[in-house]
């Protein structure tokens, strides 16, 4: 038996076994989520400026301090980090960097996603638990 029929039969099932196809699908889904979020973000922030002296803006920020909103923020961080780091991988592929080790590059990028996510999740859940960020004020940043 020649190799050809087997290869033909494997098309389709084989494509979706490849890491790259799942990476592509998640990239597209996270991208669409981010388009929606960016639109909502601009509309919410700018519309709150119709209030006098920042009153409406502060009310919106208080509303977004709700634990459900913060958990949604953490989910958004996952979408942002995945899209950003998979995007870095795509740019590396475009430049021809590491094409022969693309799976290593993909999983390295995902490791960066996990590390950054842990930092954001730690800060968010410290805030939820203590009602204050872990290094709030400690770094001397204007507040």
């Amino acid at each position: 038996m020649s190799k050809k029929p087997r290869e033909t039969a494997n098309v389709g099932a084989g494509l979706w076994k490849a890491t790259g196809m799942w990476a592509w699908l998640l990239f597209r889904i996270s991208g669409l989520i981010l388009v929606f979020y960016l639109g909502a973000h601009i509309i919410v922030i700018s519309t709150s400026q119709f209030g006098v002296g920042g009153g409406t803006f502060d009310n919106v920020m208080n509303f977004l301090d709700h634990p459900v909103a913060i958990v949604l923020d953490v989910a958004l961080v996952v979408a942002v980090l995945y899209h950003a780091l998979n995007g870095v991988r795509i740019i590396l592929m475009d430049l021809g960097v590491g094409i022969h080790r693309h799976k290593v590059i993909f999983w390295s990028a995902m490791a960066v996603v996990v590390v950054c996510f842990v930092i954001f999740a730690y800060v968010a859940f410290s805030y939820l638990a203590n009602d204050v960020g872990p290094w709030n004020g400690a770094l001397g940043v204007a507040s």
């Binding site: 639109g39 400026q49 502060d58 995007g87 954001f120």
Partner: protein
């Protein structure tokens, strides 16, 4: 003819290049934006807090770059998805491109208008 159609459905060389350029701008500016809003100032987000931060012109510049690069990247990305699934004719593709540019410019203007009260607060 075939090659021409494929090229049109790929969205064009300049769109491809700008998608990469805005991607790099977004990674740098978004890292700054998220660090200052959500890591260093968590729990303090309010009108005066944002005003204090944006008093440093650099952060205002970062936000304006984010607006422009983010809107371009988002809408061009959306355009690429539409080109894959729905935009089969060149006329439709052109109409959607023009529509998305109008939407993008409207969002850019509204976003800068929203930042305006903090500039020189």
């Amino acid at each position: 003819m075939k090659a021409e159609a494929v090229a049109a459905h790929r969205g064009g060389m300049w769109a491809w290049l700008f998608q990469r350029i805005t991607a790099i701008l977004l990674i740098v500016c978004l890292a700054i934006h998220l660090t200052f809003t959500h890591l260093l100032n968590i729990g303090d987000l309010g009108y005066d807090n944002v005003a204090n931060r944006l008093a440093h012109g650099g952060l205002t510049a970062v936000d304006i770059i984010l607006l422009a690069a983010g809107i371009y990247h988002a809408l061009n990305g959306l355009r690429m998805v539409l080109l894959d699934y729905w935009l089969t004719s060149r006329v439709r593709a052109l109409a959607v491109t023009i529509f998305l540019w109008a939407v993008g410019i409207a969002f850019l203007v509204y976003g800068i208008w929203g930042l305006w009260p903090w500039i020189g607060y």
